[in-house]
Subunit: 210 residues, 2 copies
Protein backbone atom coordinates (compact mmCIF):
# COMPACT_ATOMS: atom_id res chain seq x y z
CA UNK A 1 0.00 0.00 0.00
CA UNK A 2 1.42 3.37 -0.99
CA UNK A 3 1.06 6.02 1.73
CA UNK A 4 -0.70 9.23 0.64
CA UNK A 5 0.82 12.32 2.30
CA UNK A 6 -1.13 15.59 2.09
CA UNK A 7 0.62 18.95 1.82
CA UNK A 8 4.21 18.06 0.76
CA UNK A 9 5.17 21.70 0.14
CA UNK A 10 5.06 22.59 3.83
CA UNK A 11 7.53 21.93 6.63
CA UNK A 12 5.41 19.76 8.96
CA UNK A 13 4.48 17.27 6.22
CA UNK A 14 8.18 17.13 5.26
CA UNK A 15 8.81 15.77 8.78
CA UNK A 16 6.67 12.79 7.70
CA UNK A 17 8.30 12.49 4.27
CA UNK A 18 11.86 12.35 5.71
CA UNK A 19 10.72 9.59 8.05
CA UNK A 20 9.16 7.60 5.18
CA UNK A 21 12.37 7.90 3.15
CA UNK A 22 14.53 6.84 6.13
CA UNK A 23 12.31 3.77 6.57
CA UNK A 24 12.15 2.95 2.85
CA UNK A 25 8.36 3.30 2.66
CA UNK A 26 6.72 4.16 -0.68
CA UNK A 27 4.54 7.23 -0.76
CA UNK A 28 2.74 9.62 -3.06
CA UNK A 29 1.95 13.23 -2.27
CA UNK A 30 -1.29 15.20 -2.55
CA UNK A 31 -0.86 18.98 -2.82
CA UNK A 32 -2.88 21.18 -0.45
CA UNK A 33 -2.60 24.94 -1.00
CA UNK A 34 -2.94 26.77 2.30
CA UNK A 35 -2.83 30.13 0.51
CA UNK A 36 -6.01 29.14 -1.34
CA UNK A 37 -7.57 27.81 1.87
CA UNK A 38 -7.79 24.25 0.56
CA UNK A 39 -7.27 23.07 4.14
CA UNK A 40 -10.76 24.44 4.95
CA UNK A 41 -12.49 22.43 2.18
CA UNK A 42 -15.20 20.14 3.62
CA UNK A 43 -13.55 17.10 2.02
CA UNK A 44 -10.23 17.94 3.67
CA UNK A 45 -11.88 18.60 7.05
CA UNK A 46 -13.29 15.06 6.94
CA UNK A 47 -9.68 13.83 7.01
CA UNK A 48 -8.30 16.47 9.39
CA UNK A 49 -11.02 18.20 11.42
CA UNK A 50 -8.68 21.00 12.59
CA UNK A 51 -7.80 21.95 8.99
CA UNK A 52 -4.10 21.40 9.57
CA UNK A 53 -1.29 19.64 7.75
CA UNK A 54 -0.13 16.93 7.44
CA UNK A 55 -2.54 14.05 7.23
CA UNK A 56 -1.82 10.63 5.75
CA UNK A 57 -3.98 7.88 4.31
CA UNK A 58 -2.67 4.34 4.30
CA UNK A 59 -5.37 2.09 2.88
CA UNK A 60 -8.36 2.90 5.09
CA UNK A 61 -6.20 4.14 7.97
CA UNK A 62 -6.08 7.94 8.34
CA UNK A 63 -3.70 9.69 10.74
CA UNK A 64 -2.81 13.32 11.43
CA UNK A 65 -0.28 15.26 13.54
CA UNK A 66 3.22 14.93 12.10
CA UNK A 67 4.91 13.71 15.28
CA UNK A 68 2.23 11.02 15.73
CA UNK A 69 2.65 9.88 12.12
CA UNK A 70 6.44 9.58 12.37
CA UNK A 71 6.14 7.58 15.61
CA UNK A 72 3.59 5.29 13.91
CA UNK A 73 5.81 4.50 10.91
CA UNK A 74 9.00 4.23 12.98
CA UNK A 75 7.26 1.61 15.11
CA UNK A 76 5.34 -0.18 12.35
CA UNK A 77 8.52 -0.63 10.29
CA UNK A 78 10.87 -1.01 13.24
CA UNK A 79 13.10 -3.51 11.46
CA UNK A 80 13.15 -1.80 8.05
CA UNK A 81 15.42 1.11 7.12
CA UNK A 82 16.99 3.36 9.76
CA UNK A 83 16.22 2.46 13.39
CA UNK A 84 14.64 5.68 14.71
CA UNK A 85 13.22 4.73 18.12
CA UNK A 86 16.25 3.27 19.90
CA UNK A 87 17.13 -0.23 21.00
CA UNK A 88 15.61 -0.23 24.50
CA UNK A 89 12.68 1.29 26.35
CA UNK A 90 15.10 3.72 28.05
CA UNK A 91 16.54 4.80 24.70
CA UNK A 92 13.04 5.34 23.39
CA UNK A 93 12.25 7.31 26.57
CA UNK A 94 15.09 9.73 25.85
CA UNK A 95 14.06 9.99 22.19
CA UNK A 96 10.51 10.83 23.30
CA UNK A 97 11.94 13.43 25.69
CA UNK A 98 13.80 15.21 22.90
CA UNK A 99 10.85 14.97 20.49
CA UNK A 100 8.85 16.76 23.19
CA UNK A 101 11.60 19.36 23.68
CA UNK A 102 11.51 19.98 19.92
CA UNK A 103 7.72 20.32 20.01
CA UNK A 104 7.40 22.50 23.10
CA UNK A 105 10.64 24.49 23.48
CA UNK A 106 12.36 24.59 20.09
CA UNK A 107 9.42 24.74 17.70
CA UNK A 108 7.25 27.59 19.08
CA UNK A 109 9.82 30.42 18.76
CA UNK A 110 11.07 28.97 15.46
CA UNK A 111 7.50 28.80 14.14
CA UNK A 112 6.97 32.46 15.10
CA UNK A 113 10.10 33.40 13.14
CA UNK A 114 8.96 31.39 10.11
CA UNK A 115 5.49 32.97 10.18
CA UNK A 116 6.74 36.51 10.75
CA UNK A 117 9.70 36.52 8.37
CA UNK A 118 8.49 34.24 5.56
CA UNK A 119 4.68 34.12 5.57
CA UNK A 120 3.59 37.57 6.76
CA UNK A 121 5.16 39.30 3.72
CA UNK A 122 3.54 36.70 1.42
CA UNK A 123 0.17 37.35 3.05
CA UNK A 124 0.60 41.12 3.02
CA UNK A 125 0.62 41.22 6.83
CA UNK A 126 2.87 43.53 8.86
CA UNK A 127 5.91 42.08 10.65
CA UNK A 128 6.08 42.38 14.43
CA UNK A 129 9.74 43.29 15.06
CA UNK A 130 9.34 42.92 18.82
CA UNK A 131 7.98 39.36 18.45
CA UNK A 132 10.80 38.52 16.02
CA UNK A 133 13.43 39.72 18.53
CA UNK A 134 11.79 37.87 21.43
CA UNK A 135 11.44 34.65 19.40
CA UNK A 136 15.08 34.79 18.36
CA UNK A 137 16.15 35.31 21.99
CA UNK A 138 14.00 32.36 23.13
CA UNK A 139 15.37 30.10 20.42
CA UNK A 140 18.94 31.13 21.30
CA UNK A 141 18.38 30.07 24.91
CA UNK A 142 17.06 26.69 23.80
CA UNK A 143 20.06 26.28 21.50
CA UNK A 144 22.38 27.00 24.44
CA UNK A 145 20.97 23.90 26.15
CA UNK A 146 21.36 21.94 22.89
CA UNK A 147 25.00 23.07 22.65
CA UNK A 148 25.75 21.66 26.08
CA UNK A 149 23.87 18.44 25.31
CA UNK A 150 25.48 17.95 21.90
CA UNK A 151 28.91 18.38 23.49
CA UNK A 152 28.21 15.10 25.29
CA UNK A 153 26.53 13.02 22.58
CA UNK A 154 26.57 13.10 18.80
CA UNK A 155 22.79 13.31 18.52
CA UNK A 156 20.17 14.68 20.90
CA UNK A 157 19.04 11.41 22.45
CA UNK A 158 22.42 9.62 22.28
CA UNK A 159 25.00 8.50 19.76
CA UNK A 160 22.55 7.41 17.07
CA UNK A 161 20.38 9.51 14.77
CA UNK A 162 16.74 9.21 15.88
CA UNK A 163 13.24 10.55 15.43
CA UNK A 164 14.20 13.36 17.83
CA UNK A 165 16.83 14.75 15.43
CA UNK A 166 14.68 14.06 12.37
CA UNK A 167 11.83 16.08 13.83
CA UNK A 168 14.03 19.22 13.80
CA UNK A 169 15.07 19.12 10.15
CA UNK A 170 12.36 20.81 8.04
CA UNK A 171 11.84 23.93 10.17
CA UNK A 172 15.56 24.32 10.93
CA UNK A 173 16.14 24.22 7.18
CA UNK A 174 13.79 27.22 6.88
CA UNK A 175 15.67 28.95 9.73
CA UNK A 176 19.04 28.70 7.99
CA UNK A 177 17.72 29.43 4.50
CA UNK A 178 14.59 31.58 4.21
CA UNK A 179 14.51 33.11 7.72
CA UNK A 180 18.17 34.06 7.30
CA UNK A 181 19.24 33.20 10.86
CA UNK A 182 21.87 30.58 10.10
CA UNK A 183 24.19 32.25 12.60
CA UNK A 184 22.03 30.93 15.49
CA UNK A 185 23.28 27.49 14.40
CA UNK A 186 26.80 28.46 13.32
CA UNK A 187 27.65 30.40 16.50
CA UNK A 188 27.39 27.11 18.41
CA UNK A 189 30.09 24.57 17.57
CA UNK A 190 28.31 21.36 18.54
CA UNK A 191 24.92 22.49 17.22
CA UNK A 192 26.62 23.39 13.94
CA UNK A 193 28.24 19.95 13.61
CA UNK A 194 24.92 18.29 14.48
CA UNK A 195 23.05 20.36 11.89
CA UNK A 196 25.58 19.43 9.21
CA UNK A 197 25.17 15.75 10.11
CA UNK A 198 21.38 15.69 10.05
CA UNK A 199 20.81 18.04 7.11
CA UNK A 200 23.25 16.15 4.85
CA UNK A 201 21.38 12.87 5.17
CA UNK A 202 20.25 11.50 1.78
CA UNK A 203 16.66 11.39 3.10
CA UNK A 204 16.60 15.16 3.58
CA UNK A 205 18.39 15.84 0.31
CA UNK A 206 15.64 13.89 -1.42
CA UNK A 207 12.73 15.49 0.47
CA UNK A 208 14.05 19.04 0.20
CA UNK A 209 14.11 18.66 -3.58
CA UNK A 210 10.53 17.41 -3.90
CA UNK B 1 12.87 1.12 42.69
CA UNK B 2 10.55 3.95 43.79
CA UNK B 3 10.15 6.66 41.15
CA UNK B 4 10.95 10.21 42.35
CA UNK B 5 8.61 12.80 40.77
CA UNK B 6 9.56 16.47 41.09
CA UNK B 7 6.94 19.21 41.46
CA UNK B 8 3.76 17.31 42.48
CA UNK B 9 1.81 20.53 43.20
CA UNK B 10 1.66 21.53 39.54
CA UNK B 11 -0.54 20.29 36.72
CA UNK B 12 2.09 18.88 34.33
CA UNK B 13 3.69 16.65 36.99
CA UNK B 14 0.19 15.46 37.94
CA UNK B 15 -0.06 14.09 34.37
CA UNK B 16 2.84 11.79 35.36
CA UNK B 17 1.37 10.95 38.76
CA UNK B 18 -2.01 9.85 37.31
CA UNK B 19 -0.15 7.60 34.90
CA UNK B 20 1.91 6.03 37.71
CA UNK B 21 -1.26 5.37 39.73
CA UNK B 22 -3.04 3.84 36.71
CA UNK B 23 -0.05 1.53 36.19
CA UNK B 24 0.34 0.67 39.89
CA UNK B 25 3.88 2.06 40.10
CA UNK B 26 5.23 3.23 43.46
CA UNK B 27 6.48 6.80 43.65
CA UNK B 28 7.55 9.52 46.03
CA UNK B 29 7.29 13.22 45.36
CA UNK B 30 9.86 16.00 45.72
CA UNK B 31 8.38 19.51 46.10
CA UNK B 32 9.71 22.25 43.80
CA UNK B 33 8.40 25.77 44.50
CA UNK B 34 8.20 27.72 41.24
CA UNK B 35 7.16 30.86 43.13
CA UNK B 36 10.51 30.74 44.97
CA UNK B 37 12.35 30.00 41.71
CA UNK B 38 13.56 26.60 42.92
CA UNK B 39 13.38 25.43 39.30
CA UNK B 40 16.34 27.74 38.54
CA UNK B 41 18.58 26.23 41.26
CA UNK B 42 21.82 24.84 39.76
CA UNK B 43 21.09 21.41 41.26
CA UNK B 44 17.65 21.33 39.62
CA UNK B 45 19.03 22.52 36.29
CA UNK B 46 21.39 19.53 36.28
CA UNK B 47 18.26 17.33 36.15
CA UNK B 48 16.18 19.56 33.86
CA UNK B 49 18.30 22.04 31.88
CA UNK B 50 15.28 24.11 30.79
CA UNK B 51 14.18 24.67 34.41
CA UNK B 52 10.78 23.12 33.81
CA UNK B 53 8.56 20.60 35.57
CA UNK B 54 8.22 17.66 35.78
CA UNK B 55 11.33 15.56 35.90
CA UNK B 56 11.59 12.02 37.27
CA UNK B 57 14.45 9.95 38.65
CA UNK B 58 14.18 6.19 38.54
CA UNK B 59 17.42 4.73 39.88
CA UNK B 60 20.04 6.40 37.70
CA UNK B 61 17.59 7.09 34.87
CA UNK B 62 16.42 10.71 34.62
CA UNK B 63 13.65 11.81 32.26
CA UNK B 64 11.79 15.07 31.70
CA UNK B 65 8.79 16.29 29.65
CA UNK B 66 5.52 14.95 31.07
CA UNK B 67 4.24 13.40 27.84
CA UNK B 68 7.56 11.59 27.30
CA UNK B 69 7.49 10.26 30.87
CA UNK B 70 3.93 8.92 30.59
CA UNK B 71 4.77 7.18 27.30
CA UNK B 72 7.86 5.65 28.93
CA UNK B 73 5.96 4.18 31.89
CA UNK B 74 2.97 3.10 29.80
CA UNK B 75 5.36 1.14 27.59
CA UNK B 76 7.71 -0.15 30.31
CA UNK B 77 4.80 -1.53 32.36
CA UNK B 78 2.65 -2.45 29.37
CA UNK B 79 1.21 -5.54 31.06
CA UNK B 80 0.68 -4.00 34.51
CA UNK B 81 -2.30 -1.88 35.53
CA UNK B 82 -4.43 -0.07 32.96
CA UNK B 83 -3.46 -0.60 29.32
CA UNK B 84 -2.86 2.96 28.09
CA UNK B 85 -1.24 2.56 24.66
CA UNK B 86 -3.76 0.36 22.83
CA UNK B 87 -3.63 -3.21 21.59
CA UNK B 88 -2.21 -2.67 18.11
CA UNK B 89 0.19 -0.33 16.31
CA UNK B 90 -2.82 1.37 14.69
CA UNK B 91 -4.50 1.90 18.07
CA UNK B 92 -1.27 3.36 19.42
CA UNK B 93 -1.08 5.58 16.31
CA UNK B 94 -4.49 7.08 17.09
CA UNK B 95 -3.55 7.50 20.75
CA UNK B 96 -0.38 9.33 19.69
CA UNK B 97 -2.48 11.50 17.38
CA UNK B 98 -4.76 12.61 20.21
CA UNK B 99 -1.85 13.12 22.64
CA UNK B 100 -0.43 15.48 20.00
CA UNK B 101 -3.80 17.23 19.58
CA UNK B 102 -3.87 17.74 23.35
CA UNK B 103 -0.33 19.12 23.29
CA UNK B 104 -0.64 21.39 20.27
CA UNK B 105 -4.31 22.40 19.93
CA UNK B 106 -5.97 21.93 23.32
CA UNK B 107 -3.19 22.81 25.74
CA UNK B 108 -1.90 26.18 24.45
CA UNK B 109 -5.15 28.17 24.83
CA UNK B 110 -5.94 26.35 28.09
CA UNK B 111 -2.45 27.12 29.42
CA UNK B 112 -2.97 30.82 28.57
CA UNK B 113 -6.22 30.80 30.54
CA UNK B 114 -4.56 29.09 33.52
CA UNK B 115 -1.67 31.57 33.51
CA UNK B 116 -3.84 34.64 33.06
CA UNK B 117 -6.68 33.75 35.43
CA UNK B 118 -4.87 31.81 38.17
CA UNK B 119 -1.19 32.75 38.16
CA UNK B 120 -1.11 36.40 37.08
CA UNK B 121 -3.06 37.53 40.17
CA UNK B 122 -0.78 35.41 42.39
CA UNK B 123 2.27 37.02 40.79
CA UNK B 124 0.81 40.52 40.94
CA UNK B 125 0.76 40.73 37.14
CA UNK B 126 -2.05 42.38 35.16
CA UNK B 127 -4.59 40.22 33.32
CA UNK B 128 -4.85 40.56 29.55
CA UNK B 129 -8.62 40.46 28.93
CA UNK B 130 -8.14 40.32 25.17
CA UNK B 131 -5.86 37.27 25.44
CA UNK B 132 -8.32 35.61 27.83
CA UNK B 133 -11.19 36.11 25.35
CA UNK B 134 -9.12 34.87 22.40
CA UNK B 135 -7.89 31.81 24.32
CA UNK B 136 -11.41 30.91 25.35
CA UNK B 137 -12.60 31.21 21.74
CA UNK B 138 -9.72 29.01 20.52
CA UNK B 139 -10.39 26.38 23.14
CA UNK B 140 -14.11 26.41 22.28
CA UNK B 141 -13.29 25.66 18.64
CA UNK B 142 -11.08 22.74 19.66
CA UNK B 143 -13.84 21.45 21.92
CA UNK B 144 -16.29 21.58 18.99
CA UNK B 145 -14.07 19.06 17.21
CA UNK B 146 -13.89 16.97 20.39
CA UNK B 147 -17.69 17.03 20.65
CA UNK B 148 -18.04 15.57 17.17
CA UNK B 149 -15.33 12.98 17.85
CA UNK B 150 -16.73 11.95 21.24
CA UNK B 151 -20.15 11.46 19.65
CA UNK B 152 -18.57 8.56 17.74
CA UNK B 153 -16.36 6.94 20.40
CA UNK B 154 -16.40 6.90 24.18
CA UNK B 155 -12.82 8.15 24.48
CA UNK B 156 -10.70 10.27 22.16
CA UNK B 157 -8.72 7.48 20.52
CA UNK B 158 -11.45 4.84 20.61
CA UNK B 159 -13.62 2.94 23.08
CA UNK B 160 -10.95 2.50 25.75
CA UNK B 161 -9.44 5.06 28.11
CA UNK B 162 -5.86 5.80 27.03
CA UNK B 163 -2.88 8.06 27.53
CA UNK B 164 -4.60 10.55 25.22
CA UNK B 165 -7.49 11.08 27.65
CA UNK B 166 -5.23 10.93 30.70
CA UNK B 167 -3.06 13.70 29.32
CA UNK B 168 -6.05 16.10 29.42
CA UNK B 169 -7.02 15.59 33.07
CA UNK B 170 -4.88 17.92 35.24
CA UNK B 171 -5.24 21.12 33.22
CA UNK B 172 -8.93 20.48 32.45
CA UNK B 173 -9.45 20.11 36.20
CA UNK B 174 -8.02 23.63 36.60
CA UNK B 175 -10.31 24.86 33.81
CA UNK B 176 -13.47 23.63 35.52
CA UNK B 177 -12.41 24.60 39.05
CA UNK B 178 -10.00 27.53 39.40
CA UNK B 179 -10.37 29.11 35.94
CA UNK B 180 -14.14 28.99 36.36
CA UNK B 181 -14.94 27.98 32.78
CA UNK B 182 -16.73 24.71 33.44
CA UNK B 183 -19.43 25.76 30.97
CA UNK B 184 -16.98 25.17 28.07
CA UNK B 185 -17.23 21.49 29.04
CA UNK B 186 -20.88 21.40 30.14
CA UNK B 187 -22.25 23.12 27.01
CA UNK B 188 -21.11 20.10 25.00
CA UNK B 189 -22.98 16.89 25.75
CA UNK B 190 -20.38 14.34 24.68
CA UNK B 191 -17.43 16.33 26.06
CA UNK B 192 -19.31 16.62 29.35
CA UNK B 193 -19.91 12.84 29.57
CA UNK B 194 -16.26 12.20 28.67
CA UNK B 195 -15.03 14.63 31.32
CA UNK B 196 -17.19 12.95 33.96
CA UNK B 197 -15.78 9.56 32.95
CA UNK B 198 -12.11 10.54 33.03
CA UNK B 199 -12.22 12.86 36.05
CA UNK B 200 -14.02 10.31 38.22
CA UNK B 201 -11.30 7.68 37.81
CA UNK B 202 -9.84 6.57 41.17
CA UNK B 203 -6.36 7.52 39.87
CA UNK B 204 -7.35 11.17 39.50
CA UNK B 205 -9.24 11.22 42.79
CA UNK B 206 -6.04 10.04 44.47
CA UNK B 207 -3.71 12.45 42.64
CA UNK B 208 -5.96 15.49 43.02
CA UNK B 209 -5.87 14.98 46.79
CA UNK B 210 -2.07 14.76 47.06
Amino acid sequence: MVVKVYGPDYASPKRVLVCLVEKGIEFKTVPVDLMKGENRDPEFLKLQPFGELPVIQDGDFTLFESRAIIRYYAEKYKHQGTELLGKSIEERGLIEQWIEVEAHSYHPPLYSLVMQVIFHPLLGLPQDEDLIAKSEAKLAKVLDVYEERLGRSKYLAGDEFSLADLSHIPFTHLLVTKVGKERLIRERKHVSTWWDAISSRPSWKKVSQL
